[in-house]
């Protein structure tokens, strides 16, 4: 008997390039495409109206396309784990197909469903089509751990076979004799609900700037490619005032919901490039956005705490401030910085903001100005941003807040200057903050500096009609840079004066001892800062792994010593009765125990550090030199080894310590 299939839609809301759906109809007697309005899906409880509307439009579009194939979409209210067993029975199902979900919660959910299906004697077919690659292969190639730098990631995928070609759109002929039994009351039972039915108040809701659905996605990708072909320039477009606005060629929300296959996009880009540039083969940068997405998906797939600071092995622990009032001002576009507020308004109204605008508001909330945790910002984006993927969203927030991925932290976007450079006239601001419309361009980014007469003429008094700036940016950035520097010095064990050298950079930066010694900061006594191993750092050159050749490195250090100060001299005067090295180690332990930023990838250096070498992830292999890429492999593995087993003694003690210490101390 021909099997009865269910294809389960989650992401991948499309009929094109949908290999799992293809499997569902292959030789089947019946097929039913189901979608669960599922709380797991992007955490429906905090998804904003724009995202719900987008989703419902996607579902309507799917249903319409399925109708053309004499089928229908079954929207099922409930949770898959509760409903599937009943469906299996009721519909006599023997085959279940769905697209592979690489995200940790998805994997957990799918494992449970697979188990249910197995128990019900249902065959499960899972196909990868939400990502370009099989992420596990990338991780395998990297020695079992996800790459932590984008460069490393690029190197890895350049060694993989190109992504698989997209499969054809589901057609009548493929469906063949496979039918979809549709009951009279299908609309009532399984129809796509309206926003109102879901309890949203839609009165006065402006029409969608980003209409959902596969059909729209396919129109857009054509337009997108046409424009690219017309410009015939495949470099990243430079930002201007126009790029801030929603574009009819924008694709990100469609990729997120899977209305557009990333593989289709990938190959269309390749084809176009080949056509325009004749025989040259396309550079990786052509696929920028797609590869970044892939990068974060890879980083997150085995890390259920990817969206958290605590317990997340790749996240630096930064002592963020908890400040609900300040946070609310940011989220509600009341910071008093028109550039920030306009972006947040656009986000809330339309569900999309330009990626540099994301950088601007994320930087402002976290390391730039407010010093508030990236997790808070991430949650707001998750609610408001149409294209907020769990992995990409959390990953980008970590990136922007310099919480992971080894970022230089001096790149702080100025909440005044950045916008002014992008859109000197301030049209973007006037569009989203009409109250500021009357202000001249000169003051539109810093209206608090406008003379009262100008404010009066503009009918906008700062502090009355529009808030005063909530922070003094210059002061806040001074403090925050200092804090970041402290944290990163602690991680990299770099004790020098240089700001750049304190970041364990991905660009073979030998700080080469030049500035690697600041006696004042490195006394082991102060457990603050890099209490650990400061001694080791001070004698070591502080240089990095990729010693192009070690001779050169030492040469540089010598140079550095001459140039600055005589290290031995410094060491002798330094804080007499300086505890010995072992003491330092103790203090570092103690220090970690008492809970401070720790970076697993770097913690392990405490051991290697003794030899005076800092090991870091590198991109030496960029030049294709095998020996170093091996060492890189090793380093990667090392740094991630720790992530898997994030020093049980450290992380484990942090939580229960309060009590245990107490108990122990009493007994002493």
């Amino acid at each position: 008997m021909a099997p009865n299939s269910i294809h389960w839609f989650r992401k991948g809301l499309r009929l094109h390039d949908n290999p799992a759906l293809e499997e569902a109809v292959l030789g089947a007697g019946t097929v039913r495409c189901v979608y669960f309005l599922d709380p797991w899906f992007a955490g429906s409880s905090n998804v904003g109206v724009n995202r719900w509307r987008f989703l419902l439009q996607c579902l309507e579009d799917l249903d319409a396309s399925l109708r053309k194939l004499n089928s229908r979409l079954f929207v099922i209210r409930g949770q898959p784990a509760n409903v599937f067993p009943r469906l299996f029975k009721e519909w006599k199902i023997s085959r279940l197909t769905f697209e592979y979900d690489s995200e940790p919660f998805g994997k957990e959910r799918d494992a449970a469903i697979k188990k249910l299906a197995m128990e019900a004697g249902v065959e499960v077919i899972v196909k990868i089509s939400h990502t370009l690659y099989d992420l596990d292969k990338i991780i395998e190639l990297n020695g079992g751990q996800p790459p932590l730098t984008y460069k490393r990631f690029q190197t890895l995928i350049s060694r993989l076979d190109p992504p698989e070609l997209p499969v054809e759109t589901l057609t009548d002929s493929q469906i063949g004799r496979c039918i979809t039994p549709v009951s009279e009351d299908h609309e009532d039972k399984y129809g796509v609900p309206s926003l109102e039915e879901l309890g949203f108040d839609t009165e006065g809701l402006p029409s969608a700037v980003w209409p959902g659905g596969e059909t729209e996605a396919l129109t857009r990708i054509e337009r997108h490619l046409e424009r690219k072909a017309w410009v015939a320039n495949f470099e990243r477009p430079r930002m201007n005032a126009n790029s801030l606005l929603a574009s009819p060629t924008g694709l990100s929300p469609y990729l997120r919901f899977g209305c557009l296959s990333c593989r289709l996009f990938y190959f269309k880009l390749t084809d176009l490039y080949r056509k325009v540039k004749k025989n040259s083969s396309p550079p990786l940068s052509l696929y920028g956005q797609l590869l970044w997405r892939e990068f974060f998906y890879t980083a997150a797939t085995n890390n259920p705490r990817f969206d958290k600071m605590e317990g997340n092995p790749i996240c630096v622990r930064i002592p963020w401030d908890k400040n609900p009032e300040a946070f609310a001002k940011w989220a509600e576009a009341k910071t008093g910085f028109p550039w920030i507020d306009a972006i947040m308004t656009q986000l809330r109204q339309e569900g999309w903001i330009h990626h540099l605008a994301r950088h601007a508001v994320a930087c402002f909330l976290t390391r730039g100005d407010l010093w508030i945790s990236w997790e808070e910002g991430m949650k707001v984006f998750e609610e408001l941003l149409l294209d907020a993927d769990w992995s990409v969203n959390a990953g980008s927030w970590m990136w922007l807040s310099c919480s992971s991925f080894f970022q230089q932290f001096f790149h702080c976007y100025c909440p005044v200057g950045f916008g002014r450079r992008t859109d000197p006239n301030g049209d973007f601001i006037r569009r989203y903050l009409p109250i500021l419309r009357g202000l001249p361009a000169k003051f539109i980014y810093d209206p608090w500096n406008a003379p009262v007469s100008v404010q009066v003429a503009a009918k906008c008094i700062i502090g009355v009609h529009y808030p005063k700036p909530m922070v003094h940016h210059a002061k806040a950035s001074r403090l925050n840079i200092e804090r970041m520097k402290q944290i990163y010095q602690q991680l990299s064990r770099y004790r020098g004066l240089g700001l750049l050298a304190s970041v364990p950079s991905t660009n073979g930066n030998g700080n080469a001892g030049m500035m690697a010694y600041s006696p004042g900061e490195q006394q082991p006594g102060t457990n603050s800062g890099a209490s650990g191993n400061s001694v080791a750092t001070s004698n070591g050159s502080g240089s990095i792994l990729l010693n192009f050749d070690s001779e050169e490195q030492t040469g540089q250090s010598r140079h550095g010593q001459q140039q600055h100060s005589d290290q031995s001299h410094q060491l002798t005067w330094g804080y007499h009765s300086v505890p010995d090295t072992s003491q330092t180690v103790t203090s570092s332990r103690l220090h970690h125990e008492f809970a401070v930023p720790q970076h697993p990838g770097l913690l392990l250096h405490s051991r290697s550090e003794i030899t005076g070498k800092r090991e870091r992830e590198s991109e030496r292999e960029g030049l294709g030199e095998e020996p170093s890429s091996c060492s890189l492999h090793k380093m990667q593995r090392q740094s991630t080894e720790v992530s898997i087993n994030p020093h049980p003694s450290l992380s484990a003690t942090i939580t229960p310590e309060g009590y245990s210490i107490k108990q122990v101390m009493f007994k002493l």
Partner: protein, 418 residues
């Protein structure tokens, strides 16, 4: 687990077998020095557990050597995600180990409560002699919220009782001139490091008094408004040791603020006295406030522009900063910095680190810059957007070209396309 271990120890102790006893004995007789050495590698909590094993280990737990350094973390659940040092542990330390403390720091979150708690602890440190003290605000300058008198009296307790303070980090605190006088009166022979950026209650005269009296001072951090010709001359007096680091933060409070100038002769005196000293300057100014800066030669080694800085000022940097080692430019207008960079490469022969954020440089000029600096550029952090492709180099080509001149693989910094 630990209970089990304890039980195991007990049972082995009561065991009649001689062999076991011998082993037991060896553990208990472990020389204190060895035990100390081992303990130094253990986190505090593990040491605490170990101290319950036997009397000897318990004694070892309290050895002064293990209590020289301590970092107090003061956080409130309402304002921080991080745990705080347990109050009972703090009590224990004050009671049993305060006289052992030598290297102490306090990390406080953004709440005034935490800063006050730090002051309370400080004021109880009467019988200890600290060598280093650091007051660190991890989120916002919360010591500034503490009543000044409370803060000053707590800090004075340490100044008066610790006669051999060598480093003091009190950035963003309400420390004032009189309390610095107390510091000087008690610790002038030992003070080597003083960091007090953004301490608004200190006057130029207050810091001058420190420089006059503390001849061993080698490292100093303060805001520009405290910097004076007199201060530089005091630091370069014969009696004074060579200065190693001087860090100056130049922060503008209001737009259009006027800044005083420092005479070239004063800087010259500094360089004559301390030829190797590092001058680190952080600028957080509006573009139009740079008037008084970089008109004359200045011995700055590390230069950080936190806000937008004009092409013109960077041009002056290229002319007047011969000792420059590191330069970070966070932002600049939209005109390419080509000539400025080339000039910097030419005149700043020590330059080994550069970071560029929101700026623009043509690829050709950038390659030329790197070529001129060559391998001494050990830090080169350039945002991808900074580099403007031109007729000579595309973005894909530039990393090869730059890598070639650097002698190592280099890529521009990238931000995710989100």
């Amino acid at each position: 687990k630990d209970e089990k271990y304890l039980k195991h120890c007990e049972s082995s102790r009561t065991s009649t077998k001689r062999k076991h006893k011998a082993v037991d004995c060896e553990w208990a007789c472990l020389p204190q020095e060895l035990l100390l050495h081992i303990f130094q590698y253990l986190p505090l909590l593990d040491r605490a557990f170990a101290s319950q094993v036997c009397r000897g280990w318990n004694q070892a737990f309290h050895m002064p050597e293990l209590w020289r350094c301590f970092e107090f973390e003061l956080n409130q659940p309402a304002s921080s995600y991080l745990k705080a040092t347990h109050p009972d542990l703090i009590k224990q330390i004050i009671k049993r180990h305060s006289n052992h403390l030598q290297y102490v720091s306090f990390k406080v979150d953004s709440s005034t409560e935490s800063a006050e708690a730090a002051c309370d602890i400080l004021s109880q440190l009467v019988n200890c002699s600290l060598k280093t003290l650091g007051l660190i605000s991890t989120a916002r300058p919360s010591f500034m919220e503490v009543p000044k008198s409370h803060f000053i009296s707590a800090l004075t307790v340490v100044f008066v009782n610790s006669k051999s303070l060598s480093s003091l980090k009190i950035d963003d605190t309400p420390v004032d001139d009189p309390s610095l006088k107390v510091l000087v009166a008690n610790n002038s022979d030992t003070l080597k490091l003083l960091k007090m950026s953004s301490c608004p209650h200190v006057s130029p005269a207050g810091i001058l008094c420190v420089a006059d009296q503390c001849h061993g001072l080698r490292e100093l951090a303060l805001n520009y408004h405290l910097l004076s010709d007199e201060l530089l001359l005091a630091l370069s007096s014969e009696k004074h040791v060579h200065l190693e680091h001087l860090r100056i933060d130049v922060v503008s409070e209001n737009p259009g603020q006027h800044f005083h100038t420092i005479k070239k002769s004063s800087w010259d005196a500094m360089v004559r006295h301390s030829p190797k000293f590092n001058l680190v300057m952080y600028f957080f100014l509006y573009e139009d406030e740079f008037g008084p800066f970089f008109n004359d030669e200045i011995p700055v080694t590390h230069l950080y522009f936190g806000r937008s800085v004009s092409k013109e000022v960077l041009g002056r940097v290229g002319l007047h900063c011969p000792r420059l080692v590191e330069l970070v430019v966070c932002a600049n207008g939209l005109r390419p910095l080509d000539e400025e960079l080339i000039r910097i490469a030419k005149h700043c022969t020590q330059l080994s680190a550069i970071g560029l954020g929101e700026c623009e440089v043509s690829c050709s000029a950038f390659v030329e810059f790197v070529k001129m600096c060559g391998r001494r550029l050990s830090q080169l952090s350039i945002m991808e957007e900074v580099l403007i492709p031109d007729h000579k180099y595309s973005l894909d080509e530039i990393h090869w070209e730059v890598s070639k001149h650097l002698g190592r693989v280099w890529f521009p910094d990238m931000m995710p396309t989100w």
